[in-house]
């Protein structure tokens, strides 16, 4: 079990992590979801003992990362946000290096990385710098796993990786989870939240919600409309000025609109848009996804 208790961390004038408390169970696949600067990396670095919290305690499987940092460092497999391998070393040399440094051999824990490593093994003589994003990521994951960590700590592992590789990566994480490894992962991509057992929505150093992704979506009770319009910007302005508007924001090609009233129908919204001389294709009620929830949660606070 991993527990954060009232964790604070500031850098000069930035309150990077602001009173974070939460629990992660052993064997869970837990996600921290939040935009740039949310404080995910800072939180991870406090968990793996690279930073000391200004306030609060962390309990990592019964260890205190501040005092028992040596033991903590042994049980964590950490993949920093930046690609942390050596570009001029080959796949094999990278893996060999990390295995030796962490006091093990590739053979000893090969079973752990086999599924992942097999895919890149044909290119094992190639320098890491010449690999595709997805291959780099597999290598980095293999390196983080090679010493059989109890906790896998992955900071934005899918940033800058193509969609196919991202999906593959999450499948790999599912398999690792089945082997009993606790996985904590951060990501700025809302669509990846659904693949976690539980997620924490994070922004400006604060945690806004911690729950299974399905629960977060179902907690979202307000009716949500998607509006397809010709001129997004003008419509956005017009809707913002409407007295019943709770929130409206661009969402891909469309606008998402939340009304203050509980039982408003699409017709009412269409009527308002027409009255403003705005042309629209369609107004439709939809099921919110996790991104809508995130926006709603952070909107209420901000």
């Amino acid at each position: 079990m991993i527990e954060f208790k009232n964790i604070h961390k500031s850098f000069e004038d930035v309150h990077a992590v602001d009173d974070v408390s939460l629990r992660i169970e052993e064997g869970e696949l837990f996600g921290f979801i939040g935009p740039d600067g949310a404080g995910k990396t800072t939180l991870f670095r406090m968990l793996n003992s690279l930073l000391i919290p200004d306030e609060g305690q962390i309990n990592l499987f019964g260890l205190d990362p501040v005092k028992e940092y040596k033991k903590v460092r042994q049980i964590i497999g950490y993949m920093p946000g930046k690609f942390s391998l050596y570009y001029d070393l080959s796949i094999e040399e990278n893996l060999q290096f990390f295995a030796t440094v962490f006091g093990t051999t590739i053979e000893e824990n090969y079973h752990l990385i086999e599924d992942i490593y097999k895919q890149i093994e044909p290119f094992k003589k190639r320098p890491a710098g010449k690999l595709s994003g997805g291959m780099k990521q597999k290598l980095a994951l293999s390196c983080a796993l090679i010493h059989k960590p109890r906790l896998l700590l992955l900071d934005e592992p899918t940033t800058g990786v193509d969609a196919v590789s991202r999906r593959e990566f999450w499948e790999m994480l599912q398999k690792l989870k089945e082997k009993g490894i606790t996985i904590v992962v951060s990501t700025p991509y809302m669509d990846e939240a659904g693949l976690c057992d539980r997620v924490a929505l994070m922004q400006n150093g604060k945690i806004h919600a911690v729950a299974p992704p399905s629960e977060i979506v179902s907690q979202f009770s307000d009716p949500l409309y998607t509006i397809k319009v010709k001129n997004n910007y003008k419509s956005l302005q017009a809707l913002r000025q409407w007295e019943f508007c709770e929130n409206v924001y661009p969402f891909g090609e469309t606008l998402h609109y939340l009304d203050k009233r509980n039982n408003v129908s699409a017709d009412v919204i269409e009527a308002y848009l027409s009255s403003q001389q705005l042309t629209f294709d369609k107004v439709e009620m939809i099921q919110p996804d996790i991104e809508d929830c995130f926006i709603a949660l952070t909107h209420n606070v901000g």
Binding site: P80, S84, V101
Partner: protein, 363 residues
């Protein structure tokens, strides 16, 4: 221990796979010493001189012939009186005028000595000094060939001293190369790990901070020593600069200076955020003082007082003194123990500082 070896191995791979690093490590020292060495010798190739021969005997003619065939001098004019010397200089072509006294050959035969005046254009003092020394060397070698008796064999020393430029620049080049290889390369290689994020993984690995530092430093100690040896070898074989003192002592001093430079490099890497910053800090904080204030190019004695005082806190200054003493004067530890102690003092200071600043955490 395995860990440490793996780490050192990785560092060597980084070095060998980066052609720029290899260039800096191996080509640059050689290039520098050749440039410095030959820049000085080529400067005196084909310098225009004029001859004012008041004796016009066999000896002076032979000497003139020797000067002109040496390849260093070109005859520009034969002068007939002293009043022509100044105009000869003024039209900027003639760099030196050789004046043989009247009865030169006879004096030499009768009394064993004869006077020759070397009048140099001192507007370029360096060149003037070298031209005169070359000419002196040629006279001395003529004298020592046994054509004339009664001339002290020590005059041959003059000839060696005419290559003083290379003599003096070798200690400076050693200081500069060792500083560059050690301080700049380590600081860059440590900050590169920070920049690429691999430092985070190294820090949370079971590697101890001291192992990380030592692992980073070990390859560069070796490289630096290889460089020191190759500079000495080049100096010896190409320019005939001997090591008069103990080579072991000299290499130990090089090692000491290398460690000093390495600790400076580590110190820089604890402050610098990325490779660029590390490089510029090494350049400006280390290389410039080495070049300008250590006595490498400008003699310390000629500096204004404030700079002379500052030069005392420039470690290479002491190293250069040590190397000069051991190499050129053949002095032993007895002659350089003070400077050595000063260097050890610097090492203790910088190592303490850098190990203290090199943290087990990020902040």
């Amino acid at each position: 221990m395995n860990r440490f070896i793996a780490f050192v191995k990785k560092e060597f791979l980084h070095i060998f796979r980066d052609y720029r690093t290899m260039l800096i490590l191996f080509i640059m020292p050689i290039a520098q010493i050749l440039i410095f060495g030959f820049a000085i010798t080529t400067e005196i190739k084909d310098a225009s001189i004029a001859i004012l021969d008041k004796s016009k005997d066999e000896v002076t003619r032979e000497l003139t012939q020797k000067l002109l065939s040496s390849g260093y001098f070109n005859n520009d004019a034969y002068l007939t009186s002293e009043s022509q010397i100044e105009p000869a200089f003024n039209d900027q072509r003639v760099k030196m005028v050789v004046v043989f006294e009247p009865e030169f050959g006879r004096n030499l035969q009768k009394e064993g000595t004869a006077n020759v005046q070397l009048v140099c254009d001192a507007s370029d003092p360096n060149q003037a000094r070298m031209l005169s020394q070359f000419a002196e060397g040629i006279f001395a070698s003529y004298a020592s060939q046994g054509v004339v008796k009664g001339i002290q064999p020590e005059v041959r020393m003059f000839y060696n001293e005419s290559l003083e430029g290379v003599y003096m620049s070798i200690p400076g080049i050693m200081a500069m190369i060792l500083m560059l290889v050690s301080a700049m390369m380590t600081s860059i290689s440590i900050t590169r790990e920070k920049e690429y994020g691999s430092m985070e993984v190294l820090l949370i690995s079971p590697l101890k901070p001291l192992q990380i530092i030592m692992g980073k430093v070990t390859p560069y100690v070796m490289m630096a020593l290889i460089n020191a040896v190759s500079i000495l070898a080049l100096g010896y074989f190409v320019f005939g600069v001997p090591v008069k003192g103990s080579i072991i002592l000299l290499l130990m001093e090089c090692l000491l200076f290398t460690i000093l430079a390495l600790s400076l490099g580590i110190l820089i890497s604890t402050v610098a955020k990325n490779q660029m910053v590390a490089m510029f800090m090494s350049m400006f904080a280390l290389m410039l003082p080495v070049i300008l204030l250590s006595g490498f190019i400008f003699p310390v004695e000629n500096m204004p007082l404030p700079l002379r005082i500052i030069s005392n806190i420039i470690p290479p200054k002491w190293f250069i003194i040590i190397v000069k003493t051991i190499m050129l004067k053949g002095g032993g530890l007895l002659y350089v123990w003070k400077e050595t102690l000063i260097l050890i003092g610097f090492v203790v200071l910088f190592v303490t500082l850098s190990v203290k600043k090199f943290k087990i955490r990020l902040q």
